[in-house]
Symmetry: C2
Subunit: 421 residues, 2 copies
């Protein structure tokens, strides 16, 4: 087929109503009374939605294969099967009290894109691939995003198969129980590029009234454990200036972390999510407080700077308040930059569709962040209500889901060299 | 005996070595391996020390009676038995991991004063009374200081007899078990004045290098329960300015409470002893924090002012950080002023003995605070190491204990109209 004969696609849109009805249809698998989903990875409910997904893909003419960790790959043939497939997808597993959109949207929007291409009779140059990654959530088996990490070579298949849930069941046993231990070696599936549509799981798009987040990468993360040690003393007999109050030390640390993160804004965030007083009592000045600290930023250098400034603040607080303050970094994950070409493709697709948008980084981890270590990757975000996720009340509008799926479709068309727009 | 014939007493001192040896001797009853005491009220060990105390008092010529709540009264006759006795004392019960001085010093210093008067052949005009109050500590039966409260009319004897410990044993049963349910009606023992020597249980005297605390009264106390409610959100995806972090609200509240207490210094104290994040997680911005607040000051008006200023600060913090802050006062005890004449008598005694001293208030509750509602009362403090009490490591020096007992002796002599100094 010559270039001139290619059909134009600039008016092509996915079917928003059909996408919405598949979201509702699959929400029956693991539905909770509060309107959310409890579809832990490799559970019977996860098996049901996988069966549904395989059947839906096959009905759309896709060829479905399963790898040794249960990840489902649905291939739509292209004109040139020597080209690596252009992939999209996300995950169909959920948190135990999860919502209907986290992961689900990315998979079902990919399915909808395939159906829409079928309806329009469009063939792409490169093949397309739709992926449902096993265990993105990490609620049943740790770590989260384990199948995409294994795909990218971070773990061996055997390492992952041996992981156990709280009941002692291994990943291998759980895969066998639902019939999803496939025969494709992990990592053998060729992928030329990977694009993941996801709800933002944060408040930025909603607050700014924008529809599309053009995701430039995943943040770096540093986790710390800390403690403040002062001296336990009587709340009635110890004058204020003589106290060595560990809680007041923690309070200054938390406010310093906020101040430092704000100074590195708007991207940097710092959170003390856990703070526990040792032997707390209403009438005792706290002598010891343990705390956690989570610092994130898209730039490695900013993580370094926040940590250095915080340690300086801790030194000052400890000296002034006569407290012993310890801060130990227990984990650090470097930022993941997405492929600039893919990011530009996402942005162009949003622009050509006339959708309001902004560049942003992903605050949470996603399979696309793992994929980025091995293949060009990018993400598309759409707003979710109040930024709430990992919650049965998680919500997104039909219009935003459709807009995200349209951006996904047009990004795939660009990357797989579909007909000219 | 004429005024002229009265022996001079300005050189009279208690026997510090004898006082110290009785402290060590009674520390055998309920001794813990770590060098402290476990002598819960009305326990077998409390029965043993009560028996020792009765025998020691009788050996010193005192007449011992026991009231219906087990409080022991040891009377030393005066020349004019129509005068109400001038009393001293404290308590011989301890915390489960208590020290050797809390309460014990006040009782044994009173015994030493009686012995020293005997040695010197001194008779006072008014009789003297040495009291061992039942259950000052409150560790086994609540409330603390129950016998002195009943003496002052705050509870009926039957109310107290019906109180149960954690094992369901009543005060009445516990008294019977050690043979200390006496036949004197509670409150019938006449007391003309009450002076209690005690370790400070705080760091002020030690820090200032002073020997005697001339205690002007007990502080007022206000207890509050509070909560801060914001919005739980993802630590990675929620920009700093959009957060409603309940922990940061608590941090500002704690620092405001410190600032306000300092502004009402040196007397006012404010303590957040308990602070608990609801559903804490390392990567979740805290949505709710519950906390306790303890505010104390010797002046009722200062308690009011601290509360009012704190509520104003809470309003400002809540508005600025978009947090709902609740603060509920759950208990308030008004300050207890001691009798100015008795306080002056304590101060004069310390001055005449050439001891360094300062006026202060009691940060903790004591039997003398209950007595003050019914009879003129005052207290004498001596330093304890590092301000530590309610701990097996509680410590005081022999010299300070002797100095406190000397002040007690001379205060008793002044109040009971002993020989002129």
């Amino acid at each position: 087929m010559s270039e001139q004969a290619l059909p134009k696609t600039h008016n092509l849109r996915i079917d928003g109503a059909r996408l919405w009805s598949t979201i509702l249809e699959t929400a029956a698998f693991g539905a909770t009374p509060a309107g959310g989903l409890n579809r832990l990875t490799l559970s019977p409910e996860d098996g049901q939605v996988r069966d549904w997904f395989r059947a839906a893909c096959e009905a759309a003419g896709l060829e479905v294969r399963v790898d040794a960790l249960g990840t489902q790959y649905a291939l739509r043939r292209g004109r040139d099967m020597s080209l690596p497939p252009v992939a999209c997808g996300s995950h169909l597993d959920t948190q135990p009290t999860g919502g209907r959109f986290d992961g689900v949207l990315g998979v079902l929007a990919g399915l909808e894109a395939m159906r829409s291409l079928n309806d329009a009779g469009i063939e792409t140059e490169a093949p397309l691939l739709l992926v449902n990654w096993t265990n993105e959530e990490g609620s049943r088996f740790a770590p989260a995003m384990m199948a995409s990490a294994a795909y990218a070579g971070e773990f061996t298949t055997d390492e992952i198969l041996a992981k156990r849930d709280a009941a002692g069941i291994t990943v291998a046993e759980a895969l066998d129980a639902i019939g999803y231990r496939g025969d494709e070696p992990v990592g053998s599936q060729k992928i030329g590029a990977f694009v993941e549509l996801h709800i933002e799981q944060g408040p930025i798009l909603e607050a700014e009234g924008r529809t599309i987040g053009v995701v430039e990468g995943g943040q770096g993360i540093a986790w710390f454990d800390g403690s403040v040690t002062g001296f336990e003393s009587h709340a009635g007999t110890t004058p204020m200036p003589r106290r060595r109050d560990a809680l007041l030390g923690l309070c200054e640390i938390a406010l310093a972390a906020e101040r430092i993160a704000l100074a590195h804004g708007p991207s940097a965030v710092a959170t003390i999510g856990e703070s526990v007083i040792g032997a707390p009592s209403r009438n005792v000045v706290p002598g010891r407080v343990a705390f956690s600290l989570d610092v994130r930023d898209p730039k490695s250098g900013t993580l370094d700077a926040v940590e250095a400034e915080l340690r300086a603040a801790l030194g000052e607080i400890g000296t002034r308040r006569r407290l012993d303050i310890d801060l130990t970094r227990i984990w650090r994950k470097e930022p993941v930059p997405f492929d600039p070409g893919l990011v530009a493709a996402v942005e162009s697709a949003a622009e050509s569709l006339g959708l309001s948008r902004r560049r942003m980084v992903s605050g949470a981890g996603h399979d696309a962040c793992n994929l980025a270590a091995k293949v060009p990757a990018a993400m598309i975000f759409v707003p979710c209500k109040d930024g709430v996720s990992h919650n049965e009340s998680e919500s997104a509008t039909q219009a935003d889901c459709a807009a995200g799926a349209d951006v996904l479709l047009h990004t795939l068309l660009t990357l797989a060299r579909g007909p000219r727009p």
